[in-house]
Amino acid sequence: MAFRARHLLGIEGLGPDEITSVLDLADNYVDLNRQDVKHDTALSGLTQINMFFENSTRTQASFEIAGKRLGADVMNMAVDSSSVKKGETLIDTALTLNAMHPDLLVVRHPHSGAVSLLAQKVNCAVLNAGDGRHEHPTQALLDALTIRRAKGRLHRLTIAICGDIAHSRVARSNIWLLSKMESRVRLVGPPTLMPSDAADWGVEVYGDMAEGLKDADVVMMLRLQKERMDGGFIPSEREYFHRFGLDPAKLAHAKDDAIVMHPGPMNRGVEIDGTIADDINRSVIQDQVEMGVAVRMAAMRLLAENLRADRAEKASLKSVDA
């Protein structure tokens, strides 16, 4: 068994073999998901709780479908983080939930490190569905699966990640993953949305789309949050689109067969031109959504196997003691 982790908190702690094992298994689930009967029993009898301290429709739906297709009992808990005293609720909610014996806990939280804190307090497997600006591991895994299926490999590719790098957990997880798989990562964006130390990350940093996209195999666009559009980080939406939005002219600098990705939801006309987003020859944005369900099924199944093995070992130790 290549996948050893107890929780999926980030890509940083995974080895290349662990990443590959998730992707290999996810490939199988892509096939399953395309059939009429989409059921597997890998998680049957297990309880999965989706706990989202930050709003998300897409990711939560993806995790819910993934769990249900594997036969888990899935429950969604929307925790409005603004209406409660956050810190207390995080630990207290975790302990409360823990007492209900969940097996898989899927957590999104607005603060970096919060999911890892929570994982220390519970007895089940925890999946990070995004913590602050830190990591969003299943997004990086689904991006990797999408790239691997389109390009046939994950190594020796040139991948340009463009836009709001500074605030993006998707960028961080992708940088970890693609670097571990031995691809070249470029970061492209305005200096106000680029960490000042990005050059120390083992990536190439560009402030110009034409240079950054030159001969790229993959162009990964990031969402620009609405609250960052007006004056604070960039002068205006239209200036941003003019300089950093992906349009056919800028994409022409990439390789002819370069694919275009976006973690969604898209701001058409801000970071990406509508015609590119809809171009079925270039855009794999809908594929990413499909891969998302498969990757989450694979990740949850691998974690559940480790959880069961862990529990079996504990039980056998107990019986030896007795």
Partner: protein, 421 residues
């Protein structure tokens, strides 16, 4: 009255800058010289170090307001166990110490409960709000040894300059916390590779230099006596050096945590390593160590800040800042001694002599006539720190389970033993 004779001691004399094997006599709570009387009680030091007790500027005792975090009793016991004979308390309590009446409360409680000396500081502005100045004159009369708004940077330069002008006329010492407040707002870490990969909101180390630049300009304008509580970056050290060269009445301190830890120690979002200002890069840490050794940084302090478990068991951004340090100040500083980065007399200049001088105290030296505030310690004794054995009510130390060297064997305040190992 009583007489004591410390025999066979490795005497650490920060005033003369030397250490030597010898004898120290104490009579009536005061150091009397190298020879004692026949009736003296003898303390055989067995070749261990005997130094002036530590004077720790900037200790947070959570009275009034949060006595469950730390009281004068628990802080005093922790200080005694850490070789600290004078704690200089911060006014950032609930309420802030900004009137003679609240200061009187602190003094009364301290005298009742603490085995070591307690000298209170008062806030520079009312409620540490940076709007109206405190009653600096009354507070001086009531015994305030310095004026500080602690980590609340007084952003209104007009208010700040008036406070310093007024303080200067009374000869009062003002302690600043140099951080540009808007730039550092919301920051939980120092900007750099570590903070950005962890996704933590971070502040540029430049914010410290900007804050110090502002304060130094006001000092130049008003002629006030000024001490920067913590200088932790190489950039700000250059400005400090320039101000000292220009003859301004300026000193600076640094916390033990910024001398012995760096930003990477935060690791997997460990909130016990969240302090103010945030831990810095290794280069900045080394610059600060160098500055203590050279005397550019005058004073080393614990910046003791008790926090309960609840305020630390939170996501890193939300968790409270600060670490306890009274009992770990001495052993942690020994790391620098053992690394050959500073000598024992040089270290005690920063721990005892300079803070005493800055506050106009006669402690901090081994000279005849000085109060017999002393610490006997073994600089080499190894141990593993267990945070639950700390005497502080709060256990938020970043040194939990750390291997340390340096144990306090005994502490005396005015010739009276207040701690024995």
């Amino acid at each position: 009255m009583s007489a004591l004779l410390f025999r066979n001691a490795r005497l650490i004399d920060p005033e003369k800058g030397i250490e030597s094997l010898g004898t120290l006599a104490v009579r009536d709570g005061v150091i009397s010289g190298p020879t004692g009387m026949d009736d003296a009680e003898v303390v055989d030091c067995d070749g261990k170090c005997l130094a002036p007790g530590i004077v720790d500027i900037g200790v947070k005792v959570s009275e009034p307001g949060e006595r469950h975090k730390e009281s004068f009793g628990s802080a005093g016991l922790a200080a005694a166990a850490g070789g600290i004979t004078t704690i200089v308390t911060r006014p950032d309590t609930l309420p802030a110490i900004d009137t003679p009446e609240t200061l009187e409360f602190v003094r009364r409680r301290a005298n009742e409960a603490s085995p070591v000396r307690v000298l209170p500081m008062a806030s520079l502005t009312r409620g540490r709000q940076g709007r109206e100045m405190s009653e600096i004159g009354f507070l001086l009369d009531a015994g305030a040894v310095a004026f500080t708004d602690c980590d609340a940077f007084c952003a209104n330069t007009k208010v700040f300059s008036r406070c310093l002008t007024y303080a200067a006329s009374l000869g009062a010492l003002v302690i600043g916390h140099p951080q540009e407040p808007v730039l550092s707002d919301g920051a939980a870490a120092t900007s750099g590779k570590f903070a950005s990969l962890k996704g933590l909101p971070a502040v540029s180390p430049m914010a410290e230099r900007m804050g110090l630049d502002r304060d130094l300009a006001v000092v130049e304008m008003t002629g006030a006596r000024y001490h920067a509580d913590q200088i932790t970056t190489a950039r700000a050290l250059k400005r400090l050096e320039r101000a000292k060269d220009a003859g301004l009445d300026v000193t600076a301190g640094v916390s033990i945590h910024h001398l012995t830890l760096n930003e990477l120690d935060v690791g997997d979002f460990r909130t016990f390593f969240k302090v103010k200002p945030p831990l810095r890069s290794e280069q900045d840490r080394l610059s600060a160590v160098q500055a203590v050794a050279s005397g550019l940084i005058d004073i080393v302090a614990s910046m003791h800040t008790p926090q309960d478990e609840e305020s630390k068991r939170l996501p890193f951004e939300e968790a409270a800042s600060g670490a306890v340090g009274l009992e770990t100040l001495l052993p942690a500083m020994m790391r620098l001694v053992h690394a050959g980065q500073i000598t024992l007399p040089g270290l005690w200049r920063a721990l005892s002599l300079k803070p005493s001088d800055r506050l106009g105290l006669d402690t901090g030296r081994l000279a005849p006539g000085a109060p017999a505030d002393l610490v006997l310690f073994d600089p080499d004794a190894p141990f593993v720190l267990d945070r639950f054995k700390l005497r502080s009510k709060s256990k938020n130390t970043p040194f939990d389970e750390a291997r340390m060297e340096g144990r306090v064997l005994g502490t005396w305040v005015a010739g009276t033993r207040v701690f024995s190992a």
